[in-house]
Amino acid sequence: MARIGVFICHCGENISATVDCTKVCETTAKLKHVAYATEYKYMCSDPGQSLIKEAIKKYNLTGVVVSACSPRMHEPTFRKACAEAGLNPFLCEMANLREHCSWVHEKSESTTQKAIDIVRILVEKVKHNAALQPIRVPVTKTALVIGGGIAGIQAALDIANCGHKVIMVERSPSIGGHMSQLSETFPTLDCSQCILTPRMVEVLQHPNITLYSYAEVEGLDGFIGNFVVKIRKKAKSLDEKVCTGCGLCITKCPVKKIPNEFEQGMGFRHAIYVPFPQAVPNKPVIDREHCTYYIKGKCKVCEIVCPTKAIRFDQPDEVIEAKVGAIVVATGFDIKHADFFPEYGYGKYKDVIDGLQFERLASASGPTSGEILRPSDGQKPKNIVFIACAGSRDPAKGIAYCSKICCMYTAKHAMLYKHKVHEGNAYVFYMDIRSAGKNYEEFVHRAIEEDHVNYIRGRVSTVYERDGKLIVKGVDTLLGAQPVEIVADMVVLATAGIANNGAEQLAQRLHISYDSHKFFAEAHPKLKPVETNTAGIFLAGACQNPKDIPDSVSQASGAAVKVAVLFSQNELTREPLVAVVNRMGPPMYSTCVGCFMCQPVCPYQAIEREEYKTRDGKVIKTVAKINEGLCQGCGTCVALCRSKSIDLYGYTNEQVYTEVVALLNDY
């Protein structure tokens, strides 16, 4: 038999000024199963709380309804008080008499009646409350960082410096990401490599960090605190422990004309290669697609020349399983290439290049040793046109968003050009200049005012070649849409920043969501910008949306803190307000029919399959099962399940049904 205590708070005068608390108390005391009802000036005060605690003991209460302010305010307070008195905290409910009643209605009979109704609803509800136990899960204090760009590097170092183990998985042979390709960086124009390389080395040498380069995440199981990750280490065809990184093999490799990815195709590499001189780890890998040995079955020149005999042609891929407690995804971004801009002749005319190519041209370690030269004939361009928003903010091209970094790097490019080709003319076609960052606007103004870059507000309609020159046709909207035609030697497109290739597959493997552009989705755009929807998985850097380095680094540190917070406990405790699929004995096992229509509705991929098998392994029945580590308790699946096989602790069918009935009927 339920024994409910009702505690009515006056909240000073906040409630009692409009609600006749005494009447509420008297009326509710008459309700069936109400063992005790009382009123008090401040329930949340220490004496108020003691009142509750004593009553729980004295009347042996099985449920408590505190009729006071919003549960969003004091539910934890009163639940704690109940727990202290030995009553399971989840047997305490709050009736919101202040925000939802006394403050919003005038003093009257009907206001008091409404207060009575509200209390009654909660009294009826609490009768169906269950004594829930918090969910505890252990935490594996190792973090996985996926992607070794600046964001991944920052996150890994921060976490490692907190004293936790980190596993870093980088897809390419070296960490560094896009930042390693940049020449100088806005807004300070300091050398990208100079600030990045030390951090890359730190990663390699950090005792807490294990780096798997040339590796990818293949699968993920488990949940926050308890993930199991499968990592595929692609065969480098080389024993890293033996190799000293002398590079002799590279110089002797006969396959020399492979377009160099790091140089954005503007230079060549060998079949055995390190992507760039400062690579970390600085040991070569064999590109099996291009290596003569793998294609034709013979060559092995590298093996012959290697002084330490480190080459392993028959090395297999290796799959490692690791337990991790948290994951930082930092797989970065890419930019739009090729076919996307037929109107700008990209891919057709050699001298129409993209921003990353320009970075390589401007880089001292790049294919031209930092001289700005036209790819077609190696001449210095006298007139150079930069086109911002090449693809971005263009719904017709399917990219409605702003890529955020282009305005700034375009200004940087124009400056770098002017610094190197003093007599040259630089033009920038732009839609708007977005330079909202510390010292960013000033940076753009330097380009315009000090370096005399010509900014033209308007879009370029087409770029075509005529007699060896590039004709850039556009309009100047500040001059009343006057057509402009510029005869240029070189055109640089600030192409849109897009999700890295493979982002979608990775998201699916990790069960995190992504937006329509395949950028990973944060859990809340304002308040959870580093969390994903899957508890324990965090985002850092440009994999979420195009970002510059400072933003990537800040977010990475943010993610690292989130991981550290998680790792600060040995066990996670969570409110047990999760969904559950019912269970019963054979032959039913559960009323669930296994239609799995609930699976796609769960925003957290918390719904799994459970199979009942005979002893010889034949599946008798497959039913849904909710992973309580993942479920966040939204209840979307509960309302969906046709057979009412799922219920949500705290908001069970029985509870909400009872509330409706209690709300509309007299007791």
Partner: protein, 338 residues
């Protein structure tokens, strides 16, 4: 009482009907918009049909309604107050024009509801029921009353049985005191019968029910049940429309303080019927439920010396969406090698 035969002309019949329906509830068959025959309270005489073979639903509901309140209660702080149903409020109903199979079913229902402790609700309703039956002058292939010992003009269960004459007038057999009281209240409407012939349909006998009952004794584990019930979708329609099926469910329904307990029709053909809370179900699959249906009507009931639980109206077979023809199956059972 001794049976009296009177003639009642078509016109007088109308007068009788009008008189009856002026003073009490008359439950009579009409043809609904979708051609189904259904019983209604006090329809206009012009709408009352005399030509129907069978109504979709049986007329068991006049004594065993599909929902029936048993008691009302009020929950107080510590206890509950119960209000009983005032059975005296149950009114007299004249059932008009029901066929002999349906009227015969009342006996079977009585044998279920009143064999030991009397079901007051049922008994009271039956007491207040006057049955004016109508012998069948038409039948269809589903009818099999003759196979279970009834006939198209069986008087069982009727207080008055009407039989149609070739001329369109009717012969009224006055069978009980209840019936007689109706006649005496309107004596002027009844005449002496002439020699005219009554029109009675012929229903072929399809099987011998005693043999079926005998066979069933050893047929419990027979594969027959599975084979023959594969197509049954377990919908329960047959039981709901059956004049003799008497399964019911009792439920409490509370709203606020007030509540009521009622009983409503149920069916042993539904899987929930025997489902235990544990998830275990002694009649797990449909074939077992189908077997139960037949066994109950043709073996367990006669076993307990009640009577057969079927009147051969063929309703279930007409209504079954998948042509589970009970007569056909009983025929097969009769021939079953066990």
């Amino acid at each position: 009482m001794e049976t009296i035969k009177k003639l009642i002309s078509k016109q007088s019949l109308e007068k009788l009907y009008t008189t009856l329906s002026a003073s009490r509830k008359v439950y009579a068959p009409v043809v609904a918009a979708d051609k189904r025959v259904e019983y209604k309270y006090n329809p206009a005489f012009a709408d009352v049909t005399f030509e129907h073979i069978q109504s979709t639903l049986s007329v068991k509901n006049v004594v065993f309604p599909k929902v029936e309140n048993i008691l009302y209660y009020t929950n107080n702080k510590t206890d509950s107050t119960i209000t009983e149903i005032d059975l005296t409020k149950i009114q007299e109903v004249v059932l008009w024009g029901a066929h002999p199979c349906d009227t015969a079913a009342y006996d079977i229902l009585r044998s279920i509801f009143c064999w030991d402790i009397k079901d007051e609700f049922f008994a009271k309703r039956l007491e207040k029921l006057v049955v004016i039956g109508l012998a069948c002058h038409q039948s269809d292939a589903y009818c099999f009353c003759t196979s279970i010992g009834l006939s198209p003009n069986s008087t069982k269960g009727s207080d008055i049985l009407l039989s149609k004459l070739k001329s369109g007038d009717y012969i009224a057999e006055i069978l009980t005191e209840k019936g007689n009281s109706i006649v005496t209240a309107s004596t002027d409407l009844f005449e002496q019968p002439n020699k005219e012939e009554v029109v009675i349909t012929e229903v072929k006998q399809k099987f011998n029910n005693e043999q079926v009952t005998e066979k069933l004794k050893t047929a419990f584990e027979n594969p027959f049940w599975i084979e023959n019930s594969l197509r049954c979708i377990g919908c329960g329609a047959c039981a709901y429309i059956c004049p003799t099926c008497a399964c019911f469910d009792i439920q409490d329904e509370t709203k606020g303080k007030e509540g009521r307990r009622y009983r409503s029709w149920d069916s042993c053909g539904l899987k929930l019927f025997t489902l235990h809370t544990s998830g275990h179900n002694p009649r797990e699959v449909q074939s077992q439920r189908w077997r139960q249906r037949i066994m109950h009507k043709f073996s367990y009931m006669p076993d307990r010396n009640i009577s057969l639980g079927c009147v051969g109206c063929g309703r279930c077979s007409r209504g079954c969406p998948v042509d589970m023809n009970i007569a056909e199956q009983l025929q097969d059972l009769e021939k079953l090698e066990v």
